[in-house]
């Protein structure tokens, strides 16, 4: 029981990260029907930018840990959002009316470009976040051991996801995004500036991905330029698991995938952990081709 709960918390923390990245995939897919393969690399850019800003501006020394990290999160989210918008402008907008395959190839190209650019700028070696920025306290409940950082991480992810969901559901821009997701041409006829909607999507998704990258850097310490691939793949899987194009689906899918992985590793086999996770994905797609929450097609975003 104790080990089960420990594994559950392990899975929740990882799942929160997957979910945050998955939101970027799902939003872009919802509006453009495009799998943005460069999204994983935007996540990596987030962790590299975080490291650069953290060390070059000495934010934590000057502002203290809480304010320092809050400022850092905002700066990283803002900058990665700009990179995302730039990516859309350069790699996707010119191809918007081309066959969908061209945009997918362009996405793969952008992904390779980003990871190689990071390698050339920062070098091929692993980069390491300074230690001791985050508190090392942990909650110790009857042998269940949960570092506070993991609770904070999951908490931050959930808050960001809820904020996004509210934004999409309650605001005017959110409504416009939902409308464009259903039918771009009809939305345009209704006076919605579709280009602006797409720009919004490419600002929000990358910002969340960048935040996830920063969290991974702060918590795990070690980052390198290829890490976006694994996280991107997992988050993409999570988006499909939850029903791609569906925001609550991405959240549920991400957290579920993290938990399935942790429990699969615990009770079946460590080496087969990923195979189990992908096996579950395939099973769900056979039973429910739209993914777990993918039934309300009209609500896609």
């Amino acid at each position: 029981m104790e080990e089960f709960l420990q594994q559950l918390t392990n899975g929740l923390a990882v799942g929160g990260i997957y979910a945050l990245i998955a939101l970027g995939y799902t939003m872009v897919y919802g509006v453009l029907k495009l799998i943005n393969f460069a999204h994983g690399d935007l996540f990596t850019i987030g962790s590299y930018l975080g490291l650069t800003l953290l060390t070059s501006m000495a934010l934590v020394d000057r502002l203290g840990p809480v304010a320092g990290i809050a400022v850092l999160v905002l700066m990283v989210m803002g900058l990665v959002a700009l990179v995302g918008a730039l990516l859309e402008r350069v790699a996707y907008r010119p191809l918007r009316h081309s066959p969908r395959l061209s945009a997918v190839v362009s996405a793969l190209g952008a992904s390779i470009f980003f990871s190689n650019a990071l390698m050339l700028i920062y070098g091929a070696r692993f980069q390491v976040y300074p230690q001791g920025i985050l508190p090392k306290t942990a909650i110790d409940l009857f042998g269940l051991y949960v570092p506070l950082v993991r609770v904070l991480m999951l908490g931050t992810s959930v808050v960001m996801m809820i904020a996004l969901y509210t934004f999409i559901q309650k605001t005017k821009i959110g409504t416009a995004i939902r409308a464009a997701a259903i039918d771009q041409d009809a939305a345009r006829l209704m006076g919605i500036d579709v280009n602006r909607v797409i720009l919004m999507v490419f600002l929000i998704g990358p910002a969340l991905g960048g935040a996830a990258g920063l969290m991974v850097g702060l918590h795990y310490g070690q980052i390198n330029f290829t890490m976006g691939w694994v996280y991107g793949l997992k988050a993409f899987t999570a988006a499909i698991l939850g029903g791609i194009g569906n925001i609550p689906g991405a959240m549920v899918g991400g957290i579920l995938l993290g938990v399935i992985e942790a429990l699969g590793a615990a009770y079946l086999s460590v080496a087969w952990k990923d195979a189990i996770a992908f096996g579950v994905l395939i099973f769900i797609l056979i039973v429910r081709p739209t993914g777990l929450l993918g039934e309300r097609v009209a609500e896609k975003v």
Binding site: V128, A265, A266, A271
Partner: protein, 374 residues
């Protein structure tokens, strides 16, 4: 018409000149992971070879010709490596140095062997690479069975009764894990955990939680340093104080950077001796020069072992006065004895394996230094 003839003649001369100029150098290939997860290893391999080649050329080269290093990238990936090998094989190289990972080397062995190009691997320790009986394959690093023996000795010394073994399913890590399991079971030690992790991830808490449940006295991790660093760090965060011992792929100062000094402290690993623990004058001179040229000492022993491959092959060309692969292979197999390598004395057996004891046990101290264990 005449003009045309002159032009053709000029072109022929030019081409002849180019070909002649090309034949003036002896080409040595370098296949290493210049990109990908082990890019730091590959780039250091190139630094070492560039330095040694420049040195050799300053002294007049071999057989009166300059030595040219032609580097190609294997990306740390078997498919990319096979392509790199095919490219290198068409460039008139006498021998190729590389590469780091065993599964990567394996993908290229036949390509070089069929092209009669000598291959001297530097970090590929999997046993089966030299059990195939390939005539032109050598390696300057030792083998996993040798490493397994040293690992088992170290684990016994730690007084462990229950041992957990964790690998990462690469040719190297799995081979070493299997080797150690067999030897330990033969000595009556209980293996309480034997499984693999997926390299390249950040969160290994699920695996660590399961490992902890198995309650081992020692954990032997046979994978690479990025994962080892994370394992140590997350183990510390879990408040779990079990000793870890790693294979030679964990030998990299980045391990301490990733884990943090407090988490890395007390970590044991096996390795060919570090450059700093090499007493030979060749090694000292090399280290000084490397520092002078690149600012820091080499991080990786495998890059230095690549340098040894380069030194061995150029010495063989000099000794045989030839670039004929059969003569060179014959020389390396039979005649090269006690060659003063950067990592100690070098000789090869008939399989192409380096002979002699190379492995040592190291322990990380509180300052993150790697201390040679007696």
């Amino acid at each position: 018409m005449k003009k045309g003839l002159v032009a053709v003649a000029a072109l022929c001369l030019l081409l002849g000149g180019v070909i002649a100029a090309k034949a003036d150098t002896i080409k040595i290939g370098l296949m290493g992971p210049m990109t990908g997860p082990w890019a730091s290893e590959g780039q250091e391999m190139k630094q070492v070879l560039d330095l040694l080649a420049a040195d050799l050329n300053a002294k007049g080269g071999v057989l009166g010709k300059k030595v040219e290093v032609i580097a190609d990238d294997d990306g740390g990936d078997p498919r990319t490596a096979a392509l790199a090998a095919q490219r290198l094989a068409t460039q008139g190289i006498v021998a190729v140095i590389g590469t780091y990972g065993s599964s990567i080397t394996e993908a290229t062995q036949n390509i070089y062997n069929e092209s009669k190009i000598l291959q001297i691997a530097n970090g590929s320790t999997a046993i089966r690479l030299t059990e195939k009986g390939l005539k032109y394959f050598f390696r300057t690093c030792p083998r996993d069975d040798e490493q397994g023996r040293v690992a088992v000795q170290a684990i016994e010394k730690m007084g462990a009764k229950n041992v957990a073994i964790l690998h990462d399913n690469t040719t190297y890590a799995k081979g070493l894990a299997d080797e150690a399991r067999g030897l330990l079971e033969g000595k009556g030690v209980k293996i309480v955990f034997f499984d693999a992790l997926t390299p390249g991830e950040r969160d290994y808490t699920a695996i660590l939680t399961k490992l902890k449940g198995a309650n081992p006295d020692v954990v032997f991790f046979t994978g690479y340093y990025p994962e080892a660093g994370l394992l140590l760090r997350q183990k510390k965060e879990m408040n779990w104080n079990v000793p870890f011992i790693g294979g030679d792929a964990t030998n990299n100062p980045d391990l301490v950077k990733i884990a943090g000094k407090d988490a890395a402290q007390g970590f044991y690993f096996l390795s060919a001796p570090l450059p700093k623990d090499l007493p030979s004058p060749e090694a000292k001179a090399f280290l000084d020069e490397f520092k002078k040229k690149y600012g820091t000492a080499p991080n990786s022993i495998y890059a230095v072992l690549a340098g040894d491959g380069f030194r061995v092959i150029t010495a063989a060309i000099q000794a045989t006065q030839s670039t004929d692969p059969d003569k060179l292979a014959e020389y390396l197999h039979k005649q090269l004895k006690d060659f003063a390598g950067l990592t100690g004395k070098i000789a090869f057996n008939e399989k192409g394996d380096r002979v002699g004891e190379v492995y040592r046990v190291y322990k990380v101290d509180a300052e993150g230094n790697f201390i040679l264990q007696p």
